[in-house]
């Protein structure tokens, strides 16, 4: 299902390029996490699949980056500012999963949901990009890979934990929700933090700023002696 918000977000080529660059970073991060998973597993089947999956993610990262650079060249915007985290949904790598500490069934459940969400989101983006066939083709190609990733993760989960696979997927779903909440809370916290610190900067600190600037003007340029006694006192943090 497409929303006007999606159309709005994807309408501007510059913003589109920035989002694609962020997707490229996320795919590359996900690829690295999968490499870690492949290195950590003792299951040869999973190792082979994780390595294949990692190669796909790296390939996707390259596709996104190449397309973004094409759009940037066309747009004349050569050095884009990073896109805000909440502007575009979609796959989010493995959500900073600590791969080494995860049990393989948990990891597979998490991967399955992640790929499923990505497949759905990328399919949506492809459907609204009728005016940008180049970007649409990128999404369509990646969606095909995501379908494979969804399938193999579920199959392997059923192989390893045939009895508990449903429960593990539900648990992974709850975990994704929790992490989404943490991301949102973190973003809101960051905004509030910036506001409070800005207020502090402009309301509380101007007098101190004046002193600091005066002190800076009085500082000589060039060499400054090192206070040897202070340097040798290793108990000091200051």
């Amino acid at each position: 299902m497409t929303s006007p918000l999606h159309r709005l977000v994807w309408s501007d080529p510059g913003r589109r390029a920035r989002i694609l660059l962020r997707f490229a970073d996320v795919e590359a991060d996900g690829g690295r996490d999968l490499v870690r998973a492949a290195e950590a597993t003792s299951d040869p089947i999973l190792r082979r699949l994780f390595l294949r999956h990692a190669a796909d993610e790296q390939h996707h990262a390259a596709m996104f980056r190449t397309r973004a650079v094409e759009l940037l060249g066309r747009d004349g915007n050569r050095d884009p500012a990073p896109a805000s985290e909440w502007l575009a949904e979609g796959e989010r790598g493995l959500d900073d999963l600590n791969v080494e500490d995860e049990r393989e069934p948990n990891l597979l459940a998490f991967l399955h949901l992640s790929e499923k969400a990505a497949e759905k989101a990328f399919r949506t983006y492809a459907s609204i990009l009728e005016r940008d066939p180049g970007t649409r083709e990128v999404f369509q190609a990646i969606v095909r890979d995501e379908a494979f990733h969804m399938t193999y993760t579920l199959k392997q989960l059923n192989r390893l934990e045939p009895e508990r696979s449903g429960w593990l997927i539900w648990r992974a779903r709850l975990r994704r929700l929790w992490r989404a909440y943490l991301r949102l809370a973190g973003a809101i916290g960051a905004v509030f933090g910036a506001i409070v610190l800005s207020l502090e900067y402009f309301v509380v600190l101007p007098l101190f700023a004046l002193f600091a600037r005066r002190a800076a003007q009085a500082e000589p340029l060039g060499w400054r002696p090192v206070d040897d006694a202070r340097a040798r006192d290793l108990g000091r943090q200051y």
């Binding site: 082979r48 650079v69 050095d79 960051a190 900067y201 600037r213 060039g222 060499w223 040897d228 040798r232």
Partner: protein, 588 residues
């Protein structure tokens, strides 16, 4: 006495353990977390160091952090205030950053390790650099220079160190303070040229060789010399002290023109590409000029034959070679990890020798202080995944590898304990024949996925180094850890095309047999077979990834790129297609 050194929270965190005055373990956190330049608290590295030495945290006599967090906090806060009202962003960013974890280091260390607060000590940032440079160097008396972006306040410092009858004396005499910084000058141009700061400085140096310093006069406007022989930056050209968005100011752009976009290709055939190369050459030249003046003055002042150089700026091999050749010092000693990772070791050694006043020990003159490889692991992986793998004795391993290299195969080479520092010096390396440029291009395209203007380094046995490279006196020592860039002799450049940079130079590693016997044997055997005892040696990693640590990481890297052969200790693995071809050849 057991002393743990820790560096963290800026870039490249690390841990190092000194037991009874001897470094027994040192490793960067990124090698465990697999996040390049990981700056987080190095818990995995600490755990490995303690496990390796069979120690528990309660056995530690001291934990030494490599800088003084509250002094650093003072600099961040003061800088934001001095920049009022433009410094709002820097203030908010700095406060959020510093007050989260970075300022409460003593508490964090106590919480993580369970050691009492009185055991947690703090060296100053440049003191740690100086200790990492001098206390690991085989020198009885040396002048010391440390230079980087910024520590607490210092950005560059000079001092001297001396060993006398088992006692060590080392002190920093004077320093240049933030915001005047050679490291940040270079980083500003790194950002301007579209590369990542703290990561892309190598690229600026590589690109510089393609340009002419036609912007040197402009760069000199940014850096003036003070009457006392130091330097000062014209801060109007910079923004790093007032903003978190960019290091350069509008005035900087008026002087040098529009910056390169991060995603723009560098095409050296175009005017724009040449402009960027010329700017890189210009900042490189000016950096060298300032460093040469400082080092020359220090050589005159101290009259000492050795100079120990530490800090991130010491990774600039081109500048190092000029310092060695032109300042009057006979030897330039650069440690294998001159950057912040090496500070963990420096901090621990400083505490041991100068705080606890323990007797000096012979310097550990090698970088192999990390985890070792287990060849059995590669055999297991190969058998599980149907990859052809065999265990070979030393002679067969060398013979097969020589054949591989002669056949133009690219070899992943894992041997012994991992190096501390950014360079692979023969224990986590990718090796290849150095003869033609096609090999360089193949490595860039299929393995390293990096820009074509970046050169690869050669490794050569010390006995043959002077035959192929123009080494000045002291050059072999500087080349021990790949810290210098020297001319390739003109008559050999054609046969060393894969490792000869566009300006006819190479960042050569000069290998002594005692430091790495197996690689030395391989080079000698390769020399006998090919007539040229030189190999291309680049770090064993893919773009954006840290150097591999364990066999499993080497194996996954091997599978994900165009590498042909993987050697881990005595185990040798081939790509399946290659093994089939080898079998056909053997039975043809």
């Amino acid at each position: 006495m057991n002393i743990l050194g820790v560096s963290a929270h800026y870039h490249d965190s690390a841990a190092a353990l000194v037991v009874d005055g001897v470094p027994v373990a040192a490793v960067q956190e990124e090698r465990f977390s697999r996040r390049k330049n990981d700056a987080s608290f190095p818990l995995a590295a600490i755990e490995w160091c303690l496990d390796h030495a069979g120690l528990a945290p309660e056995n530690l006599d001291a934990v030494v952090f490599y800088e003084r967090p509250l002094l650093k906090f003072e600099r961040i806060l003061t800088s934001a205030l001095r920049a009022f009202p433009k410094g709002r962003g820097a203030f908010a960013h700095g406060m959020k950053n510093a007050l989260g974890e970075k300022t409460w280091v003593r508490g964090n260390i106590c919480a993580h390790l369970g050691v009492p607060g009185r055991k947690v000590l703090f060296t100053q940032h440049h003191q740690s650099h100086a200790a990492a440079a001098f206390l690991t160097a085989p020198s009885d008396a040396a002048a010391i220079v440390t230079a980087d972006g910024v520590g607490e306040w210092a950005t560059l410092s000079v001092g001297r160190g001396e060993r006398r009858g088992g006692a060590v004396e080392m002190s920093l005499l004077r320093e240049v303070r933030y915001p005047h910084s050679l490291g940040l000058l270079y980083s500003t141009f790194t950002e301007y040229l579209g590369f990542a700061v703290n990561e892309g400085e190598y690229k600026v140096m590589g690109l510089a060789a393609y340009g002419r310093p036609t912007f040197a006069a402009e760069v000199r406007r940014l850096v003036s010399r003070t009457k006392d022989g130091a330097f000062a930056l014209d801060l109007g050209f910079f923004d790093y002290h007032v903003s978190v968005a960019h290091s350069y100011s509008r005035k900087f752009l008026e002087l040098f023109g529009p910056p390169r976009g991060r995603y723009d290709p560098i095409d050296l055939e175009t005017d724009e590409g040449r402009r960027f190369a010329d700017i890189a050459a210009s900042v490189q030249l000016v950096l060298e000029e300032v460093l040469l003046d400082l080092a020359t003055a220090l050589a005159r002042e101290t009259g000492l034959p050795d100079l120990c150089l530490g800090g991130g700026v010491a990774l600039n091999g081109v500048a190092n070679s000029r310092i060695l050749a032109e300042t009057g010092f006979e030897r330039l000693l650069v440690p294998p990890a001159p950057g912040d990772a090496g500070c963990a070791l420096g901090a621990a050694l400083y505490a041991d020798r100068l705080h606890f006043k323990n007797p000096d020990r012979e310097a550990v003159d090698h970088p192999f202080l990390g985890p070792s490889v287990d060849p059995a692991e590669l055999v297991r992986l190969g058998r599980e995944d149907d990859y052809p793998v065999e265990m070979l004795d030393e002679r067969a391993l060398i013979a097969h590898t020589v054949q591989d290299l002669q056949a133009g195969r690219i070899v992943g080479w894992m041997d012994g304990c991992m190096e501390l520092g950014p360079r692979a010096l023969g224990h986590r390396s990718i090796l290849a024949a150095p003869h033609d440029a096609a090999m360089r291009d193949r490595l860039n395209r299929d393995i390293k996925y990096r820009e074509e203007f970046r050169p690869f380094a050669p490794v050569v046995p010390i006995e043959a180094a002077a035959d192929y490279f123009e080494l000045p006196p002291g050059g072999a020592r500087l080349g021990r850890y790949m810290s210098g860039v020297f001319k390739v002799k003109a008559k050999h450049r054609k046969r060393l095309a894969a490792v000869t940079h566009v300006d006819g130079t190479a960042r050569v590693q000069v290998l002594e047999r005692a430091m790495e016997p197996r690689l030395h044997a391989l080079l000698t055997a390769y020399g006998r077979a090919s007539g040229l005892p030189v190999l291309l040696n680049t770090s064993f990693n893919l773009a954006g990834e840290p150097i591999v640590n364990k066999v499993a990481e080497g194996y996954s890297t091997f599978r994900r790129c165009g590498m042909d052969v993987l050697v881990a200790g005595g185990a040798r693995m081939l790509k399946p297609a290659l093994a089939t071809a080898e079998l056909k050849e053997a039975y043809a």
